[in-house]
């Protein structure tokens, strides 16, 4: 098995009397195409929020490339290469895609604190933005205000902003959610074209997308890891079938 990049140890998150994630331990290897699936309310988003530092876990630890990051603030984790996209677009509505990407690239190059040099005077940043715009099929829309872009393009920008960080682990939270069929292809293509050395964790309801993309899957039910395995193993697992066919009697691990 190749090197483990992201690992959790017994993550527990309680909200009052509700346990949203219960003792979740999982490993993401380098270059993984790892899907995290589970019914609504299974704790997927809570888990992501603990990975990215938005929520502090009640118990357990998160480790990135061997380093304990459990108590790091979200933006510092991004600096270490743990980057996410959001299920609901979180964009800079009044900036253009070009400006948004320039900011993301500046952040990675530690140039976002420059306060005297105009944005754009650094040709390295400009060149990288052009490349990202082309990669995410946004070149034609580079100079339009983000709030005026079609939804599918905004969704692409959502992913492009994360990729601009050159992440070592990329968490994609339902990247294709709400995208009309005509624009879906763009999203799937760009996700499939992510560099091989990036570990991708995909949270998705769309099983076609999950099975075409993932090489490894973790199934989360009621905050607990039900099982983990290859797509073939998961597809054949009677417990998983029971969950997805709506039967509620499931033996929790």
């Amino acid at each position: 098995m190749s090197e483990v990049v992201l690992e959790t140890f017994g993550l527990v998150k309680r909200f009052g009397g509700i346990t949203a994630t219960n003792n979740v331990s999982m490993k993401v290897t380098k270059g993984a195409r790892h899907a995290l699936i589970g019914p609504n309310g299974a704790g997927k988003t809570t888990l992501i929020n603990q990975l990215t530092g938005v929520l502090p876990p009640s118990e357990g630890r998160v480790q990135l490339r061997g380093r304990d990051i459990t108590s790091l603030t979200p933006y510092k984790r991004v600096g270490l290469g743990l980057v996410r996209t959001f299920q609901i677009n979180q964009l800079f509505a009044s900036l253009t895609p070009l400006q948004s990407l320039a900011l993301a690239v500046s952040s990675r190059l530690d140039a976002a604190r420059r306060w005297w040099q105009p944005m754009g005077s650094d040709s390295v940043i400009g060149a990288e933005c052009e490349q990202l715009l082309a990669q995410f099929r946004l070149s034609e829309h580079a100079d339009r205000v983000t709030r005026e872009l079609p939804y599918g393009k905004r969704r692409l920008l959502e992913i492009a902003l994360a990729v601009a960080q050159k992440p070592s682990v990329l968490l994609l939270d339902e990247p294709a959610a709400g995208v009309p069929a005509a624009e879906r292809r763009d999203i799937l293509d760009t996700v499939a074209a992510l560099p091989d050395d990036v570990s991708v964790v995909l949270i998705e309801h769309d099983m076609d997308l999950v099975f075409s993309f993932a090489k490894r899957m973790t199934v989360l039910v009621n905050g607990t890891v039900l099982t983990e395995g290859t797509p073939q193993e998961i597809a054949a697992d009677p417990q998983v079938r029971a969950v997805y066919l709506g039967e509620t009697k499931v033996n929790h691990g």
Binding site: A93, S94, L103, W115, G120, G126
Partner: protein, 322 residues
Amino acid sequence: MSGKASALLLAPARWRRWEYALWAAIWAAPIVFTSHAALINEIAIFGLFALSLDLILGYTGIVSLGHAAFFGVGGYAAALFAKHVMPDPLVGLAVGTVLAAVLGALTSPMIVRGTDLTRLMVTMGVALVLLELANKFDSITGGADGLPGVMMGPLLGQFTFDLGARVASFYSLAVLFVAFLILRRVVNSPLGLSLKALRDNRLRVMAIGLSVNFRLALIYTLAAALAGAAGALSAQTTGSATLDLLEFHRSADVMLALVLGGTGWLWGGPIGAIAFSVLRDLLSSFTPQYWTFWIGLFLVVLMLVGRERLFRPWTWFKRSGS
């Protein structure tokens, strides 16, 4: 095509022709309207104050109803410094600016947390606390009587402040101009762009690896410093510091002026200050008691109709969305 993206990114930083023209007109004002130098001085100070509010309200989205706190601190600091230490205006200006910046840095943790309503109340609270402190410690501030008779030395050792406020108006305009030039650079830098990003979406600012709190604190401190400079100019050029520097209406007026001029494009402060002062002057000569009625009515119309539409009469009778 390499360089295209860089050119597009650089475009907002380019000076427009009308900007040169407007600055030329502003600089010509005290020469042309010699008899109105005192008003021009007042407008320049107000413009600087509104410019500093634009930095936090327009660029970063921090609402404040207590910006007078920094204006007042700058004003009292400059007046006390002139009275007790030395009368040089530029050194006094620096002292007022730095002290206001210190207060901004100290109070910035309070605006980092909470919602807009929290910030509105916290900023207002800080200003009210300072107002009452200035009132109470009358041995230092003169309390309700204020600190009259602040004597300033000559500007740069050469230009004595005259009764006609000619020197004062050039002095205040110069400070406004320098502040504008600096901010013009800052808002178009990566840091400046990250402030706009912050206004749009804090969550995403974090998600691209930038510290939100650092930016909020930094910009709040910078805005406080500029407001302090405006306050210092006010105390120096009027030769007094009174409780009026810290009054609530000052925080409210500056927000009105900025909204009149438009937020988030730097010119909103200076233009708003000019519009507000000229409107007040015109309206109060025509209806001395009821001028606020007209300003109020204008604001309501401005907000409801929208600036874009109000200043483009040719769009009034077109259907929206066409």
